[in-house]
Amino acid sequence: MSTTLLAALPFYPLVSFLLLIILGKRLSWQQASWLSVGAMALSALSSGVLVYQLSQSDVHVLTVQLWSWFSLKGSTGIADVNFAFYLDALSSVMICVVTGIGFLIHLFAAIYMKNDENFSRFMAYMNLFIVAMLILVLADNLVLLYLGWEGVGLCSFLLIGFWYQEKDNVLAARKAFIVTRIGDTAMAIGLFMLFKSLGQLNIVDVTQAAQVSWQVGNNDAYWIALLLLGGAVGKSAQLPLQTWLPDAMAGPTPVSALIHAATMVTAGVYLIARMHGVFLLAPEVMQYVAWIGASTLLLAGAAALVQTDIKRVLAYSTMSQIGYMMLALGAGAWSAGVFHLMTHAFFKALLFLTAGSVILALHHQQNLFKMGGLLKKLPVESTLFIIGLICLMALPGTSGFFSKEAIIAELWSSPTAGAGLWWCAIVGALLTSIYSCRLFFLAFLGKQRFDTQLHIEKSKLLRMSLLILAALSLLGGLISLDLQAVFTDMSAPVNKVNEPYWLHTVAIITPFIGITFSWFYFARYRITSNAEIKASQSMLSQFLRSGLGFDALYQWLLIKPYCFIARLNRRDIVDQMIMLNAWYVRLWHDTLSTSQNGSLRWYAAAFGLAIVCLVGVVTL
């Protein structure tokens, strides 16, 4: 019973995707949204049932093999690569997040995109995205995981560039695709190396074989973990491949919520958590993970401080929250990282969707400096946004608090993290609270800085999906994740010796310091009397606004030289060599066609000559 449910899980959205893409515009809005949202509801329901059944059973693991895909001959015999799903505590958290949040976002999107001409194409891509994500998290081997991984990349490309009539969107989509592809290539190489040295691709087998055949600090383990980290960095928008995420806000807002907050960017976190058996054998890489996470969280937090676009603030905050997850994984706080992944999915989806409602109400105005005073105009949205923000800031009692504190608490004593990274996390939390307050003051307080009539969507479904998300964000911290079964082999010795008593107090107080600071520092955003405020144009804020100049750096360091080489090789040397064949054939063609001159006497002469030659050949 439950295996059938598990096997069918990705197929509801897949069928819906196929129907939507085949029937396309022949479906009315009603039919298309029933189909796509209904499929998502079925998926969400069945994953709920699955997780319940899993928690009731004793085995904690559920596998189902759909069909065998291919087998590979490795160093230690034949490794079967099957189309098989593997459900344990970690993947059940992921399927709940993917299908549950995915369902709510679909519900929202059905209303948000109602008037779009290509509605059914949009919903089809959204469904396909869920299919890919489910395959990614349920895969029992790394090849199938890679299939989902690439599928997610493809769907993000399609969805970011959904409004492809505008050049910027297409460029953003292309950038997302290419930048994540760099990480994907690293990951593919990592998988090849993994197969070469272990001869296994099944995730459970790989973890076991790694622990048997590798010592801690093994060279193979180091390189493989590093390459897998490369893949995770690309997909999760961490340093140095983070540049695609802010631009990816070009897509419609539900896409941002789905891809860039709740699911896709967490794929990298999932990958590292899933392959923790390998990462544990490479403590240096664990340190890299932690440092990448910490630097991304500081960088993104600083960049979020000065953004003018509401969605870009949220995008940078996503980056910084993913940085927290990476930091947790690097410190070996696996459960805390996954827990933060879940709570972040709740409140970031809420924030993005509420921002979407606000943007919709303001007729697609995304500039924070053209908002203001929305608290009175849109009380429900404002309340929901406040809920999202306090979760983001991790005020005590909210879900973000539980998960972020869980991460911060483990940092100090972790062998791969330590006090330095703990301070990074605290500074990150401070930055989080400051940019959250700035965002809130600019958008919702102060004087109204727009002169259009608000377009208020009074759909009950829209409100409902937001309310469910708000409830989850507030109460999500009470969900106790039992990931012990997955992460039992966390072997790091915990030295609780020199942990100062003030750690927890500082961690709890930090967001309040941030709020107090911004209450006074951003006072002019709150209680401004004039109807115009300008974004700061100083060198520093422009530098921060551009994401610390990474785009310019890559432009100068990578894109320019690449384009130069491409221009040099415009005629494509390899192509020219292949064109030699064509040139040879053409030469013969030309020769032979001049002989075809239509003159009968020439033909007769050729005839005679040929006979003479033939007779000569035969007689000699």
């Binding site: 001049t594 002989s595 075809q596 001159n597 239509g598 003159s599 009968l600 006497r601 002469a605 005679g608």
Partner: protein
């Protein structure tokens, strides 16, 4: 009656055939080309007759009769074509008819 050696007959046939062939490829006027063709056919006929008499078989003469009928048919078709050609191109020059080039 002295027997003519086969070599002589074949030599005559070769000379006739070559004269005909050179005529076909050097003449521009189609009428002359047709005549040259006839010469070539007759060269073949001479070779058949000679061979038939050398081996004392009737087959050579049978073949010659076949060639004669073939030549007659060819001349009939050829002359009909030339009349059409004269009507259409106002000339019997074969090089005018090179429209089917390459």
């Amino acid at each position: 009656m002295t027997e003519i050696p086969l070599e002589h007959v074949l030599f005559l046939s070769c000379i006739l055939f070559s004269i005909g062939f050179v005529g076909v490829i050097s003449r521009k006027n189609t009428l002359f080309m047709l005549m040259s063709l006839e010469v070539m056919l007759n060269a073949v006929g001479v070779a058949f007759i000679g061979a038939g008499s050398a081996w004392r078989q009737a087959d050579g003469q049978v073949m010659f009769i076949l060639i004669l009928t073939l030549a007659a048919a060819e001349v009939a078709v050829g002359l009909a074509l030339f009349i059409r050609m004269q009507r259409r191109y106002r000339s019997l020059d074969i090089d005018e008819l090179n429209e089917m080039r390459g």
